[in-house]
């Protein structure tokens, strides 16, 4: 299970003269839940967008499932896009479609399943992420922030992706909802063998579900590994992150 499925090497990113990443290296293994941590503006979302081919780094290489994203062919790129699931920070639901239509859009476009089966699959995913069945016919504008996150997760899960990218999935959820979210991710990972890359600030998630993670800071990865390994790193930013009052409460009560 330890083969690397995402490898990021020496990424440099610049917006104008503003350098965001200056030599980022990290690797994600199959079947793990991988966290990307860092303060606001440290370039986590940007890195995630580079992994899903929305942005191109200025230099460096990203290899995803054996494809080099810098020189990937159109067909390979298209098939990657069919099979991964992405949850954006703001949900990015299509505002003119209902929740059910949002969740089913890739099923309708990319599979040839009969309509009634697609509907059932959609209902199932909606129930899975903890939305009430009545939410299916609502438009994104009629949902609360937490419901948008859940609907977006249901959409990301629609095709049973092997690879899931999540940008701050639990921010905006109540603690109970966030825990249910974490449990669902673990369950799916164990049963369906998902690999998850998630940007998160949520210390609870880091303690309970993330297998390995990278901490971004000063334009580089300042620590990477399991929680134990990272806590041993004595970098001041890491200490700050886990040494703050929120972090300390967690490490007292945590596992």
């Amino acid at each position: 299970m330890n083969d690397t499925i995402i490898k990021v090497s020496n990424i440099v990113t610049r917006f104008g003269t503003n350098v965001i990443h200056d030599g980022i290296n990290l690797s994600v293994r199959r079947g793990e839940i991988y966290g990307l941590l860092g303060g606001s503006g440290s370039g986590k979302s940007t890195l995630l967008k580079q992994m899903i081919m929305l942005l191109r780094p200025e230099s460096g290489e990203i290899t995803l499932l054996g494809h080099n994203l810098m020189s990937i062919s159109r067909n390979d790129a298209a098939s990657l896009r069919h099979y991964w699931g992405v949850l954006f920070q703001g949900g990015a639901l299509y505002s003119s479609l209902t929740v059910a239509e949002n969740v089913g859009i890739k099923l309708r476009e990319y599979t040839e399943l009969p309509e009634n089966m697609i509907e059932e699959l959609v209902q199932m995913k909606i129930k899975m992420v903890g939305l009430p069945p009545t939410a299916a016919t609502l438009y994104p504008a009629e949902l609360s922030g937490g419901m948008i996150k859940r609907a977006a997760l249901a959409r990301a899960l629609a095709m049973d992706p092997q690879l899931l990218f999540l940008d701050e999935p639990t921010s905006g959820l109540d603690p109970i909802g966030a825990e249910a979210f974490d449990n669902l991710l673990i369950e799916l990972r164990d049963i369906l063998g998902l690999t998850v890359v998630m940007v998160t600030h949520d210390l609870d998630s880091i303690w309970t579900i993330v297998d390995r993670f990278a901490v971004l800071g000063e334009k580089k990865v300042i620590a990477e590994g399991t929680l134990k390994e990272v806590l041993h790193a004595s970098h001041p930013i890491v200490q700050q992150f886990f040494g703050g009052s929120r972090g300390q409460i967690r490490s007292r009560d945590g596992k």
Binding site: Y83, E120, M124
Partner: protein
């Protein structure tokens, strides 16, 4: 994601070896979302044919299964059970078990969705009714909007200091000054068209000079107010709707309300004032360009010299005709700006509705302008103005 490469089409085989009446099913291949198509069709057919027979389902040859594949299995399994078949499943791995538990937990049963025939027949009437009610609500909302707007107008007149002069000037520039090129071009072309059409007819009677009467009166009284208003409705009315609509979506309007900035005072009144000021001026501008174009064509086509044209113009174009045209301006402006802002506030929270309401706003504004112009024609004729 190896499945993308090693994609085995999943097959559903049926061994109908009749020993003890048992139907033997055997599934194999990967049961994943993009390999299911044929199996789904075959299974739907099978589940409706078997009734009250024992079934032995061997799943040992099945490879990868995802939630879609498992859902298909569960659907078929339940359908067979519902047909009084006894189903024995053999050969499931522990992986299969786990996915089965997961999907079982979240799967819904079948649902009957189709409405009954009677209610489907009634649907068109239902729709007509809804449309009509929607129209009435629209009308009511519009009246409420104009009422609120009028009260704010009175307040603004009582407290002139609250008027946002900066915003008015900015809107005049946006709606008036920047629209001058397109107004100039359209009214020039209108002048050309009138002159050509008139010239052909008048030349037959040798009544060349009357081209001046024709151009002067039609342009000042009717054409330039109408054409300018239509251009402005398309250009400014639509942008009012879009601007306010975006602010509605991004909750800027709600934010303004909570800070005590009344959107009518800050957004609507400046736009209405600006257009009421700008449109009459633009109509006057269009008058000049339109008559100028007519003069130019008369010179080329009818050999009417410029001094002759101007001399005749002074004689036939009483100043009241110009005032009639310009006087329509504020009314048209009020209609366009009010409809534009009203539709902007109606935008609901999705991006698609901006497009829809912008279109509606332009169509409404143009219709209202033409209707209002027709009303003016009748009134002025009756009054003999």
């Amino acid at each position: 994601m190896q499945s993308t490469q090693s994609q085995q089409a999943k097959i559903e085989k049926l061994h109908d070896l009749n020993e003890d009446n048992t139907v033997r099913l055997k599934s194999s291949g990967d049961w994943t979302i993009d390999t299911l198509h044929d199996a789904a069709e075959m299974l739907t057919e099978m589940t409706s044919t078997y009734r009250n027979v024992p079934i032995l389902w061997d799943v040992s040859a099945t490879g990868r299964v995802d939630s879609a594949g498992m859902l298909l299995f569960i659907r078929s399994f339940d359908a067979l059970k519902a047909n009084q078949c006894s189903v024995d499943v053999v050969g499931a791995t522990s992986e299969h078990e786990k996915i089965y538990q997961l999907v079982r937990r979240y799967a819904f049963g079948h649902r009957e969705a189709k409405p009954a025939l009677f209610s489907r027949l009634l649907m068109p009437f239902n729709r007509i009714g809804r449309r009509f009610v929607a129209f009435l609500t629209d009308l009511k909302d519009f009246l409420a909007f104009t009422g609120e707007n009028f009260i704010n107008l009175l307040l603004a007149i009582v407290h002139p200091r609250t008027i946002r002069f900066g915003a008015i000037v900015k809107n005049i520039e946006e709606a008036g000054v920047r629209a001058m090129p397109i107004v100039a071009l359209t009214s020039f072309l209108i002048g050309v068209v009138i002159a050509y059409q008139g010239a052909v007819q008048l030349e037959k009677f040798g009544a060349n000079i009357f081209i001046v009467d024709m151009i002067a009166l039609s342009v000042t009284r009717e054409l330039s107010p109408l054409i300018t208003a239509i251009v402005v409705a398309g250009r400014t009315g639509s942008s009012y709707t879009a601007q306010l609509g975006v602010m509605k979506i991004t909750e800027e309007i709600d934010a303004m309300r909570t800070m005590g900035f009344d959107p009518h005072r800050f957004l609507v009144l400046p736009r209405i004032f600006a257009l009421i000021i700008a449109l009459p001026l633009m109509i006057f501008f269009a008058d000049i360009i339109g008559i100028g174009a007519g003069m130019f064509i008369s010179h080329i086509h009818l050999n009417l010299s410029y001094p002759e044209f101007i001399h005749r113009l002074q004689k036939v174009l009483a100043v009241k005709h110009v005032w009639v045209g310009i006087g329509k301006g504020p009314f048209f402006a009020w209609l366009i700006a009010t409809v534009g802002c009203f539709r902007g506030f109606q935008v609901s929270k999705n991006t698609e509705s901006i497009g829809r309401y912008t279109t509606i706003s332009v169509v409404n504004a143009i219709f209202l302008v033409i209707a209002c112009d027709a009303l003016f024609s009748v009134v002025f004729t009756e009054l003999g103005i």
